[in-house]
């Protein structure tokens, strides 16, 4: 366990060094600040997605569900779209990015808890119905967003696009700082409830049996997930398969059910994957493609391989 963490920490540092220094020819004062920002964004997003996924998988008792598969990213996009659409371009533009982020996150928090209540309900619905409902809810949200894109005024649309689909290489610095603060708080929260999450793995009845306030713990966990998804989506837009990939790699590496270990290792794996992926994208693939597509591709293949291997047992 200690060796795994050490190795991953070294790998993260190595990948970071690679990203920061690869191909900088002389213009350090120009390249370094920009690359540092990219690095920070990658690490923040990676950590947010990793923690959100591990927590979410425990709550839903599934190793193949992620907030993103269940439509949380699409929900964030929809919330942002609704806000810009209803306030109009001028107001949205006048709003500081920070206020917009806070508003988005607030609405997202409420909406995701509602979604979770509606879909998971009292827990009597089977897991698989829940999954399907989540996937379809995700499509519903992105369809409504797509619908609103068409009917909204073009100026508002531009504001929204700039707001939603920033990439790892062009990021608002204030938002980055806020993202870092919110992330730190949420991650600390996740580690603080790590032992309760361990118990949650017993399922609802088992957890109540040993005296866990199941409802409250689940709601708290889902609130954390909503905040973390908001952070990562606000910074770089939806990243579909990253969480799935890193959470499952982390379980493999730690070989334990303890959340203290899995949360930490998943964060490190995500950081390595994103930073290394971005470095490769910049230098080997010469920016030909987006990190999101790359991750979908690799993550999708890994997911299917896992699914088939798992069904063999």
């Amino acid at each position: 366990m200690r060796r795994v963490v050490l190795a991953l920490t070294l790998a993260t540092l190595g990948a970071a060094a690679l990203l920061l220094t690869w191909g900088v020819d002389g213009h350090w004062d120009f390249a370094l600040p920009r690359r540092l920002e990219t690095l920070a964004a990658l690490v923040i997003v990676g950590a947010a997605v990793a923690v959100a996924t591990v927590v979410f998988q425990t709550v839903t008792a599934s190793r193949i569900l992620t907030p993103s598969i269940m439509g949380f990213d699409s929900l964030y996009v929809l919330v942002a779209t609704l806000i810009v659409w209803s306030t109009g371009a001028a107001t949205a533009l006048a709003m500081p990015p920070l206020a917009l982020f806070a508003l988005n996150t607030g609405v997202m928090l409420g909406a995701s808890l509602l979604l979770f209540r509606a879909v998971i309900g009292d827990g009597t619905r089977g897991l698989y119905t829940t999954v399907l409902a989540g996937v379809i809810a995700g499509t519903l949200f992105s369809s409504i967003s797509g619908f609103l894109f068409r009917v909204m005024d073009p100026n508002a649309f531009d504001v929204l696009m700039a707001d939603l689909f920033a990439s790892f290489t062009s990021i608002d610095t204030t938002l980055l700082a806020v993202g870092a603060v919110v992330l730190t708080a949420a991650v600390a929260g996740a580690f603080a409830m790590a032992r309760r999450l361990d118990v949650l793995a017993l399922g609802r009845d088992g957890a109540i049996g040993v005296g866990l306030d199941h409802r409250r713990t689940v709601m708290l966990a889902m609130a954390l997930v909503a905040v973390l998804v908001s952070v990562s989506t606000a910074l770089v837009g939806p990243v579909t398969f990253l969480g799935l990939l890193v959470a499952n790699l982390a379980y493999r590496l730690t070989g334990t059910h303890r959340h203290g270990a899995n949360l930490l290792v998943a964060m490190l794996v995500a950081a390595v994957a994103l930073v290394l992926g971005q470095a490769l994208l910049q230098h080997v693939l010469a920016f030909n493609g987006t990190l999101g597509s790359l991750i979908s591709l690799v993550g999708g293949v890994v997911f299917i391989a896992m699914l088939i291997k798992e069904s063999r047992r």
Partner: protein, 328 residues
């Protein structure tokens, strides 16, 4: 029970036909230009409007809707899984990848060539999906479409990366969003092929039903199982490929319509197929009308409308207590 189902089927078929007819008339009447019904036969301008734009559009919508719904029905019967459809089996995304490859490799490819290449991809993608499903021992109903969605995601990511390189991102977005606004005479006729595919499915309905019972039963009644499976998938892939190439992808149609229809008239393909075709046509006609009316004279692509309505309906179906979806 059987006779009751039979009667329900007959009534449903009649109702569906009437609804399609009504919606078709409405579809003929709505458009950016004003149509004066009384003058159609006398004023050549008005007649041209009807024959060049309104009739082709209405026909296109009916054909595409019917074909996609039938494709879904076939796939569900063959895989014995209610969640499998062109959207959830990677078929649509594979077809999209095929269109991109066709455009890149054969710059001035004809529509038929594009359909051909998209068909190859759609068929190969769906076959890959089935192979993977076969290796998936854990046959929980929902794992199957989840696998399909992820496989579709891989196809889409590949498409995106190639499109990004070739600066075609915008173009791909247009294909993947079904839209009938470009339909005029001379640019939709390939869709009749999709209609023909649906008719072919009707002719082989008995074989498909038997194949849907599984390899053992199909073999024991003397049916070449693999060949029937391939033929059924071929028809579904063909319908999907034609629709994607001609008007773009329409999500969910193959999932919702067959599920609602079989809920009403039962699983017998020969009985369910015509109702499914009409149901698909009616749903897309209605969605297309809504798309044309909401921000008239501009349009919202039909795929967005189907996405919102379709996903909404499906979600309600699944979350309703005590239904057959909830038992999965």
């Amino acid at each position: 029970m059987t006779s009751l189902r039979g009667r329900t089927a007959a009534v449903t078929l009649g109702v569906a036909a009437a609804v399609v007819a009504l919606l078709a008339v409405a579809s003929l009447a709505v458009g950016a230009a004003t149509l004066d019904w009384g003058a159609v036969l006398t004023d050549p301008e008005q007649l041209r409007l009807v024959t060049v734009s309104r009739i082709p559009r209405t026909a296109a919508v009916i054909l595409a809707g019917a074909a996609m719904a039938v494709a879904g029905l076939i796939m569900q019967a063959l895989t014995r899984n209610r969640y499998v459809a062109p959207t959830t089996a990677g078929t649509i995304d594979a077809a999209g990848l095929g269109v991109l490859v066709a455009v890149l490799l054969f710059a001035g490819a004809s529509v038929m060539a594009k359909i051909g290449i998209a068909l190859v991809f759609a068929f190969a993608g769906t076959a890959l999906f089935l192979l993977l499903v076969e290796r998936l021992r854990l046959r929980e109903m929902i794992m199957v479409p989840l696998l399909g969605l992820v496989l579709g995601g891989i196809f889409r990511a590949t498409t995106e990366m190639i499109a990004y390189r070739a600066n075609l991102t915008q173009t791909v977005q247009v294909w993947m969003n079904g839209d009938f606004s470009g339909v005029i005479e001379g640019r939709y006729e390939t869709l009749w092929l999709a209609g023909a595919a649906a008719a072919a499915a009707y002719l082989m309905a008995h074989h498909l039903t038997a194949a849907g019972m599984g390899r053992e039963i199909a073999t024991s009644v003397g049916l070449p199982y693999r060949a029937t499976l391939a033929a059924g998938l071929g028809v579904a892939s063909f319908a999907t490929a034609v629709v994607v190439v001609t008007v773009g992808a329409i999500p969910f149609l193959g999932l919702i319509v067959p599920n609602v229809v079989t809920l009403l008239v039962g699983d017998n393909l020969r009985r369910a197929l015509p109702v499914t075709a009409l149901g698909g046509a009616a749903l897309v006609l209605a969605c297309d009308l809504i798309g044309r009316l909401v921000i008239h004279p501009y349009e919202i692509p039909v795929s967005s409308v189907v996405g919102v309505l379709g996903a909404g309906v499906l979600l309600a179906l699944i979350l309703r207590k005590g239904n057959r979806f909830a038992r999965a």
